[in-house]
């Protein structure tokens, strides 16, 4: 019984670690899409920043420098997306897709040129990464039966970026619901002409949203390569940006809903890796592939309106053309 409890807690612990990049990217997606800009480039921004973080951390031996590089490159890509979709009124989906494909090519190309390791960065030493933070008294409190392990395994031992992700949710919720900028952000995604006639710049508001989204994606990338992992591996985001996009939709473009969706998807991933190769009574081999496909399936079902309804911001995907 105790063992099963511990197994469960370890799965929950893994859930938080796997959900962190999803949460950060989903919040980035909310900022972008609430402002009316479709952002399928979450994946590419995260990939590029994962590479930048690992590369700079390897060169400077500083995880912090890596994080700043990651944020920088991600914001730059966000601005490129903005140039294409806001300034030049191009197709937002195509622009996002282009960023993703470029990121796939560029990370490996630069990686090989810099490190000659087939696109990987050197393995990062402990001091070059964001390390787990053991909370005070974790060992002592962990001895308490039943509840103790929750503190020791689930709450303690995460690195700083996991906590940053949690704060990012509160930050997003607060900005959107409680600030003037949040109100404008939501308005610009629903009815940009209303904002425009109030004398507020649609272009500026949308660019600001993309910059914030870039910062969040950058943190997510840095998390992958310098906190969760210890170095960059080619294609290391492996579709996580798209899962985050799905989670954002699943959470109906709301911070809280998206957080829950990310935790659910993270839990499914944790569960799948725990069940790998395990025989379940009556079922046989655990259907790991099915569990991993569930996020996509659930999102399709939700989008189709079979369970609940996910309504995107009204002006999403439409370039704003000011009337004269």
């Amino acid at each position: 019984m105790d063992d099963l409890w511990l197994q469960f807690l370890l799965t929950i612990d893994a859930t938080f670690r796997l959900a962190t990049p999803l949460v950060l990217c989903a919040m980035a997606g909310i900022f972008s899409e609430k402002s009316g800009i479709i952002d399928i480039s979450l994946e590419g921004k995260m990939l590029m920043s994962a590479f930048a973080a690992a590369a700079v951390a390897a060169l400077t031996s500083s995880a912090m420098a890596g994080l700043w590089a990651a944020i920088g490159i991600s914001v730059a890509l966000g601005l490129l997306h903005g140039l294409a979709s806001i300034t030049l009124r191009g197709n937002q989906v195509i622009s996002g897709l282009a960023i993703n494909i470029m990121a796939s090519g560029l990370t490996v190309t630069i990686g090989i040129a810099m490190f000659q390791k087939g696109g990987q960065t050197p393995s990062l030493a402990r001091y070059e990464r964001f390390r787990p933070i053991e909370l005070p008294f974790a060992d002592q409190l962990g001895q308490i039966p039943f509840l103790g392990p929750i503190y020791r395994e689930v709450i303690s031992g995460h690195n700083i970026l996991v906590w940053v992700a949690l704060i990012a949710v509160l930050f997003t919720a607060f900005i959107l619901a409680r600030t003037r900028f949040g109100l404008r952000l939501r308005a610009v995604g629903e009815k940009p002409e209303a904002l425009d006639s109030a004398g507020i710049s649609v272009v500026k508001t949308r660019f600001l949203a993309l910059i914030i989204a870039g910062v969040l994606c950058g943190i997510a990338g840095a998390y992958l390569s310098t906190a969760h992992g210890s170095g960059f591996v080619r294609e290391m985001t492996a579709g996580k940006g798209y899962i985050a996009l799905a989670a954002m939709i699943f959470g109906k473009w709301q911070p809280r809903g998206a957080l829950y969706a990310c935790l659910l998807f993270g839990f499914l991933e944790a569960l799948a890796s725990r069940l790998q190769g395990i025989e379940i009574p009556f079922i046989g081999a655990a259907p790991v592939d099915l569990i991993l496909a569930l996020p996509y399936l659930l999102t399709v079902i939700l989008l189709a309106g079979f369970v609940g309804r996910a309504v995107p911001p009204r002006a999403i995907g439409q370039p704003y053309i000011k009337e004269r």
């Binding site: 997306h81 197709n91 090989i112 000659q116 592939d289 996509y296």
Partner: protein, 378 residues
């Protein structure tokens, strides 16, 4: 994707795609230079690798075959203003369809029945995988972009599950089916050439290339010479007007997506029936996404798509050559070029239009003041 400016048609079709490729190559060249290699040397290596070396042209055309199918798929959907980025998944399931009928019948049917059946199966499976997002868009209002992205991942999951499970050849480790018998193979072009006495180097180029060209003709007839094509284009221009004119828009959307998915699915006949002769994991290798770049560059017209496919075929084949010639740059360079082409011809589509329209205007009507258009002061 048409230009909002009054750019002459020939410039929009001929000049803009060239400018886009040039811009993409320029940026990639800068990246190569930063890495410390000579961009012109790299360019020469790619050109030689794509056209000059023995058998290289065959490889280029073999890659182009994939891109014609996936490019046509994207283009057909574009004409109805649907953005199908699910080509990757539809092609993947096309390979499943071809694989299943080959596994079932290849020992009893002659090639003349087996091959067409397998082609139908690949198109059919792709069509279903395209039609479902089409249905969800038309009837349930879910955004086709998001659904097709999800369907790519679902297709990948299904293929992993089946190829590592029930479709896996017994007694082997790698996730792939058994090899098909000869009756399920499309002949290689070099075999055909050799049999009629023409000397030709070995390459994976096979009869699918001819089928791809036929598909181009088919798409041209469909879009510009058929009632359905008219309905598709009307829906793309204005769904409201189409509805008002009595065109069943929902049905047109579903059928368009089915045709689009079917074309993407047919990419599998090149890879599965033509080259691999078994269904393997990950045979689509991103060619579905390349189809988007091809359709954008080819301006959604079959002739443009063939030309763009040749360009991308040459890039892929030439890019493979980079691996051998350089230690610091390799074929991922091609992904960068591809991404840049998509960026310049799609995302930044209007960047060149306005300056070019003005320039051409000055050149064609010297002395005249060029009026600014509405969008310009926006």
């Amino acid at each position: 994707m048409s230009a909002p400016q009054d750019l002459p048609r020939w410039a929009d079709i001929g000049l803009i795609p060239l400018l886009n490729v040039f811009a993409a190559l320029l940026v990639s060249g800068i990246v190569v230079a930063i890495i410390g290699e000579n961009p012109f040397d790299a360019m020469m290596v790619m050109l030689k690798g794509a056209f000059i070396y023995k058998g290289s042209l065959g490889y280029t055309l073999y890659y182009a075959t994939n891109f014609i199918f996936t490019g046509l798929a994207v283009a057909v959907a574009f004409h109805a203003l649907l953005f199908n980025i699910g080509g990757e998944g539809q092609a993947y399931l096309g390979g499943l369809g071809a694989g299943i009928v080959c596994l079932l019948f290849d020992s009893m049917l002659p090639a003349l029945i087996m091959v067409p059946l397998a082609i139908l199966a690949s198109a059919g499976f792709g069509a279903i995988w395209g039609a479902i997002p089409g249905y969800l868009q038309a009837k349930r209002g879910s955004h086709i972009v998001i659904t097709t992205i999800m369907f790519n991942f679902l297709a990948a999951s299904i293929m992993v599950w089946l190829l590592a499970g029930s479709l896996k050849a017994p007694g082997q480790m790698s996730p792939e089916t058994r090899s098909f018998t000869r009756s399920a193979e499309l002949p290689f072009i070099h075999d055909i050439a050799n049999s009629i006495g023409l000397e030709m180097a070995r390459s994976p180029l096979n009869l699918s290339f001819v089928i791809a060209l036929l598909a181009c003709v088919g798409v041209w007839v469909l879009i510009w010479r058929s009632r359905l094509g008219y309905a598709i284009r009307t829906t793309g221009h204005s769904a409201g007007a189409a509805e008002y004119a009595g065109i069943p828009v929902s049905r047109v959307i579903i059928i368009t997506m089915a045709i689009s998915g079917g074309l993407a699915g047919m990419m599998a006949i090149n890879e599965i029936l033509g080259v691999q002769h078994r269904t393997i994991l990950g045979f689509t290798s991103g060619y579905g996404f390349t189809g988007i770049a091809v359709a954008l560059m080819g301006r959604n017209h079959p002739i443009g798509i063939v030309l763009a496919s040749l360009l991308f075929g040459a890039l892929y084949q030439g890019g493979a050559e980079l691996d051998f010639e350089f230690s610091t740059i390799n074929r991922e360079m091609v992904l960068l070029i591809q991404g840049l082409i998509i960026l310049f011809s799609g995302g930044l589509a209007y960047m060149f239009n306005r300056p070019l329209a003005r320039l051409l205007g000055l050149w064609l009507n010297p002395g005249k003041n060029i009026p600014t258009t509405g969008a310009e002061n926006g």
